[in-house]
Symmetry: C2
Subunit: 237 residues, 2 copies
């Protein structure tokens, strides 16, 4: 049987790395898609490239989208400060300012276009409804609605050649369980990057990024490794 | 009552100009969104700016997306030739090579993000199911599926603050009826641009674009004006 191709949305964080390892284990051949959306820094993209190599993807496509023109998020608008806290328990509740309006809708739309051109009927995305309970576009209802849309949105879909599926292997896992799953699947977490606001350091004449350790994403990652009882291999500022 | 804001997807063609005039007539305050997606030429974007001014939009946002990285379409890939025909009757049937995979899904996703930031619950798009019967993402089933997605995809949607609506005033009109509707609403068609493959000409030391007159889009436009019994004010090469 011919190996099926899947589009993997790859940010370079530990979730998408784990989702990719899960898809590979299921026998899917991966085409990785990294969306450059006006993030504050290049650290994420460099991590995505390292993880893509590590996963042995067939192809890695990078697409730039000026989501910063939309604004409204601390991740794309330098005028909005990335919030920092002392611990996971003290972070703000509700939908945080790091929410990027319609981000996953845009990401999945691009993945759908790429899937159509690559003759793929599967899209893999590492969204998570527990840790990002405030993000509307990380919930199962959103994913199912996108799946229904995908089936009427494309040439391949309406011609009945492919029945699109959106795979969300992490959607009901907490960070500790994601860390354990990734470890079991052989993910090298040292290659991943999670920080929303990394610090640039020059190490032996080369620029290196260090995770801040205090943004929501860093706090969540650290908590995950702690609860999983595993050391986090990355360095913090 | 406070005037409602709508996001208008504005390409600069006659359809989106007419859809914009329709929305204005309905009392909506417009924020125009033009997506730069790796089209072959700048003529479309210049037309979008002219039409935005003509419509008196409150704001015009231009967002660049590298859809050409996905490939698979004559509109974004220079290796694929834009087909030319002698008349509307001799153009190819089925889904044409000018179809851009998932284009309207990407456009609507960006419009949704902008709507959220602009506190708008309405999106206006000039899609048409008759003339582009081969384009999956111009059909009512696609639009309804996107509307359902929009209602679960955003902060505003899940908090119940807004019930997103996608308006498609042209979806069941043929080109002649669109021309007549636009004329009735006072659209200056001389500002619009429809051609997939325009020719650059230097007129009095300035670069001007001339419509080719023979691509699918030009043929459809010319047929529309002819059937509407109205002169097309733009110049052809």
């Amino acid at each position: 049987m011919k190996q099926r191709t899947a589009i993997l949305l790859l940010s370079g964080g530990l979730d998408s790395a784990t989702a990719g390892a899960w898809a590979k284990k299921r026998g899917l051949r991966l085409v990785a898609l990294t969306v450059l959306y006006g993030q504050r820094h290049a650290a994420e993209i460099l991590a995505a490239r390292r993880v893509a190599r590590h996963l042995g993807v067939r192809k890695h496509v990078e697409i730039s989208v000026e989501l910063d023109r939309i604004g409204g998020s601390a991740l794309t608008d330098r005028a909005i400060r990335v919030p920092k806290a002392r611990s996971w328990n003290s972070i703000a509740h509700g939908i945080p300012v790091t929410y990027v309006p319609a981000r996953n809708t845009v990401f999945l739309a691009l993945a759908l276009g790429l899937a159509e051109v690559q003759s793929a009927a599967d899209i893999v995305i590492g969204v998570n409804a527990l840790d990002y309970s405030g993000y509307p576009d990380c919930r199962p209802a959103f994913v199912r609605a996108f799946e229904r849309l995908a089936r009427v949105a494309t040439k391949a879909g309406i011609e009945g050649r492919s029945r699109f599926r959106i795979h969300t292997p992490l959607i009901r896992l907490n960070k500790a369980r994601i860390v354990r799953l990734g470890a079991r699947l052989g993910v090298d977490f040292g290659l991943t990057h999670s920080c929303y606001d990394p610090v640039a350091r020059t190490v032996k004449g080369r620029m290196r990024w260090r995770a801040c350790g205090r943004c929501d994403s860093c706090l969540l990652r650290r908590k995950g490794f702690l609860e999983a009882g595993m050391p986090d291999p990355i360095a913090y500022a």
